[in-house]
């Protein structure tokens, strides 16, 4: 019994890590721009689809070669831009006025390199690292497009309007991703170990069954969280982000460019979405239902607080564990007691858990205290 309990608990915690990852994307954007970004799930789907299709075999039925070329070009431009930025920052501070020209040339060269790379990997099937890099570049471009085309025009609107706009973006991305990459179920092959692992065999009879793939995923997620924490606490950009989160107007008046900050935040949460999509896709395959994990991440969000990174992590673990435990141990009792047609309570249990919790602590686990004034 204890063994089964621990097994369920571990399985739930590992799933919870994924919820944390998605919730993290929400939190980053909400903190920096006050936008409740419902498109996070769609971004996860889009990233996962892109990786899966770039690293998979090409089939002319659904995916055109042009997609690969464009992806490669975007990758090339991104590499070129990063290179140019590094060169400008560290090598040629205060260089002449023809930098724009140099940037264009670098970008062109990068695009060329990317194009050549795309063709040299003939039938699609890029190695996974290249696919991930290209997807990262695409997520950056996406963030730029969202900032430029949507957010910039909706500055100073009410929260609900922004929320609705992200719903529109979510719709768009769902359609866009599937138009580009097709809508079947695809695989992402990360080369994760598949054989189940048995832990503590001498403590419990039969040991604890753990999926090593999930362990690796949890490791990646934990690493990502550490990187993000360092990024937020120790870098210049991170400090600017925290300043914006604290007070938009004050941050702007000391010279922090809001638009750039938003671009960075959306890019970062695009990258977080990429990580989530990668792990989720490797585990369950890439399909439309991935975009629904955004809904799974929402109770995590209210439990942990919209503005708290540690809250997202802890909340994700609690929700993941609570969900699995309730499904395994509570659902059969309910089914017996009320003569139900099957359990399936995990869909709402997390929400109820969060709701009851909120009744006692409206700002969530780690949320900032709400102080109200007239």
């Amino acid at each position: 019994m204890l063994g089964a309990f621990l097994e369920t608990l571990i399985g739930g915690l590992l799933t919870g890590v994924l919820y944390s990852l998605v919730a993290l994307g929400f939190v980053l954007i909400f903190k920096a721009s006050g936008v409740f970004n419902f498109a996070q799930g769609a971004m996860v789907l889009f990233a996962a689809l892109t990786i899966a299709r770039l690293s998979g075999e090409i089939d002319n039925k659904e995916v055109h070669l042009a997609n690969f070329v464009v992806a490669a070009a975007i990758l090339g431009v991104a590499v070129a831009l990063i290179g140019w930025y590094a060169w400008r920052e560290y090598v040629a501070r205060g260089a002449g006025p023809d930098e724009r020209r140099k940037m264009q040339m670098l970008a062109a060269v990068g695009a060329l390199v990317g194009g050549i790379a795309a063709y040299s990997y003939g039938k699609g099937a890029w190695p996974i690292w290249l696919a991930i890099a290209a997807t990262a570049a695409i997520m950056g471009l996406l963030a730029y497009a969202i900032e430029r085309l949507v957010l910039r025009h909706l500055v100073n609107q009410e929260g609900i309007i922004l929320f609705m706009a992200t719903l529109g973006i979510a719709n768009f991305l769902d359609g866009f991703g599937q138009t580009l990459w097709g809508s079947d179920i695809y695989k992402i092959n990360l080369g994760l170990p598949k054989d189940p692992l048995f832990l503590f065999e001498n403590v419990f009879p039969g040991g604890l069954l753990v999926d090593p793939g999930e362990l690796v995923a949890a490791g990646i997620a934990a690493g990502l969280v550490v990187v993000l924490a360092i990024f937020f606490q120790k870098t210049r950009v991170g400090r600017a982000l925290r300043a914006v989160a604290d007070d938009h107007a004050a941050a702007q008046s000391v010279g922090i460019p809001l638009n750039t900050i938003w671009l960075i935040v959306w890019t970062v949460s695009g990258l977080v979405a990429l990580a989530a999509g990668l792990i989720w896709g490797a585990k369950l395959g890439v399909q439309f239902s991935i975009s629904l994990i955004a809904l799974k991440a929402l109770p995590v969000l209210i439990l942990g607080g919209f503005t708290s990174v540690p809250g997202a992590i802890v909340g994700g673990l609690i929700i993941g564990a609570g969900e699995k435990l309730s499904e395994v141990f509570l659902a059969p009792v309910l089914v017996k007691a009320f003569d139900l047609a099957g359990g399936g309570i995990e869909n709402w249990f997390a929400y109820m858990l969060a709701l009851v919790f909120l009744l006692f602590r409206p700002q969530g686990l780690f949320g900032e205290r709400i102080i109200e004034r007239v």
Binding site: F36, L149, V150, H153, L154, Q157, E158, G159, I160, I161, F163, M164, A165, L167, G168, I169, A170, N171, F172, L173, D174, G175, F176, Q178, T179, S183, L295, L298, P299, L301, I302, F306, F338, D339, L340, A341, G342, G343, G344, I345, N347, W348, Y351, M352, A354, L355, L358, L359, P362, G364, I370, E372, R373, V374
Partner: protein, 355 residues
């Protein structure tokens, strides 16, 4: 030139407190209602009824309900689909288990009352939780109610997968068979509901909702009880939504399962409210018309230009265009279609001499 209130003097309080104080407005609304009751049935085809008019009217009513909660009382709710399901299944159970009650109006009202009760229950957290926290918390009701109707067998009369069907509908001995009958019944109910909603929101109770929306602490200090005000908003809103859910199930679908009221329905109705305009009954109608017509148009559009596409691609493109249109409309007019209408009316008052 035509639309001008000059010379219309109000000499009594009754005249001053009319819903439409301007004569031209009254005439226009009256003309629309008469046309809807008399002219439409003369030429409408079954397709027009079942695919456009009936969905439009029923969803307008749901949008009015949600607008009361979100637009007038400021409590964002994402649980609309769940409350519609409550209305639908409550009405179904009354219709099924009490055959003596065969009047559809009673059945629908029962659905609405049950939805209101459930709405009050799920509205209680709104006293502690605000803003987006509340929005997410209302998702709890959506998922819980979805699950309830899929799993609790008694509620769906032990049918597999919770799909149920109704037949033989009547109101005061009037048998509802043809699409035209359904349309007229729905139209009547929606007109009455709109009138009720209009009078609620411009009266004492509506003002208390708006006070809570604008600043809840200040409203509390000037004497509105937040508990009662918020819960009445939840109750009234859920009542409308429940009735519309029952109508959707009985008169639009006929046979349905819990999936008909899933989370996408909630978002659809929230879209209507936002696109139409928060805090505007007219906006609810405009938003519903927009959201009902848009997918149909998008579906037909490639055909008109002679472009052939696979259905999968078409549905993906539809998603894309729909998303883009939502964003576009929000950017162009964040206050919704109702605001555009108001601006147009203002322009019309001065036309043709704008100075």
């Amino acid at each position: 030139m035509l639309y001008r209130e000059a010379g219309q003097f109000k000499t009594t309080y009754v005249a001053d407190q009319q819903i439409f104080p301007i004569l031209q407005d009254r005439m226009f609304v009256l003309a629309v209602i008469v046309a809807a009751f008399l002219a439409v049935p003369m030429f409408a085809s079954p397709y027009l009824y079942t695919e456009i008019l009936i969905p439009f009217l029923i969803l307008s009513m749901a949008a009015i309900g949600l607008n009361i909660l979100v637009g007038y009382c400021g409590q964002v709710s994402l649980g609309t689909g769940g409350f519609m399901a409550v209305g639908a299944y409550a009405a179904y159970n009354l219709w099924l288990r009490v055959p003596e009650v065969n009047n559809l109006i009673v059945v629908f009202l029962f659905g609405g009352v049950m939805a209101a009760a459930v709405g009050i229950l799920f509205g209680i957290p709104s006293l502690r939780i605000k803003g987006f926290y509340l929005a997410v918390a209302t998702l709890a009701s959506q998922f819980f109610l979805d699950w309830l109707f899929a799993r609790v067998k008694w509620l769906t009369n032990y049918t597999p997968s919770g799909s149920v069907a109704v037949g033989k509908l009547e109101v005061f001995g009037w048998h509802i068979d043809t699409p035209a009958d359904r349309y007229l019944l729905i139209l009547g109910l929606v007109v009455v509901a709109t009138l009720v909603a209009k009078n609620l929101v411009r009266g004492h109770i509506g003002r208390s909702w708006m006070a809570i929306r604008d600043m809840d602490i200040a409203a509390e200090i000037i004497g509105f009880r937040p508990l009662r005000t918020k819960l009445t908003a939840f109750a009234v809103s859920s009542f409308f939504i429940g009735v519309s859910g029952a109508m959707w199930a009985f008169l639009r679908l006929g046979a349905w399962e819990p999936l008909a009221f899933d989370i996408n329905r909630s978002f659809q109705i929230l879209f209507m409210v936002i696109i139409g305009g928060l805090g505007s009954l007219l906006g609810s109608f405009l938003g519903a018309a927009f959201i009902v017509l848009m997918p149909i148009l998008l579906n037909q559009l490639p055909g008109w230009f002679g472009i052939r596409m696979s259905t999968a691609l078409l549905s993906h493109l539809e998603f894309m265009v729909f998303g883009a249109m939502i964003v576009f409309f929000l950017i162009v007019e964040p206050h919704g279609l109702a605001r555009l209408w108001a601006v147009a009316k203002e322009k019309l008052r001065l036309w043709p001499f704008p100075h």
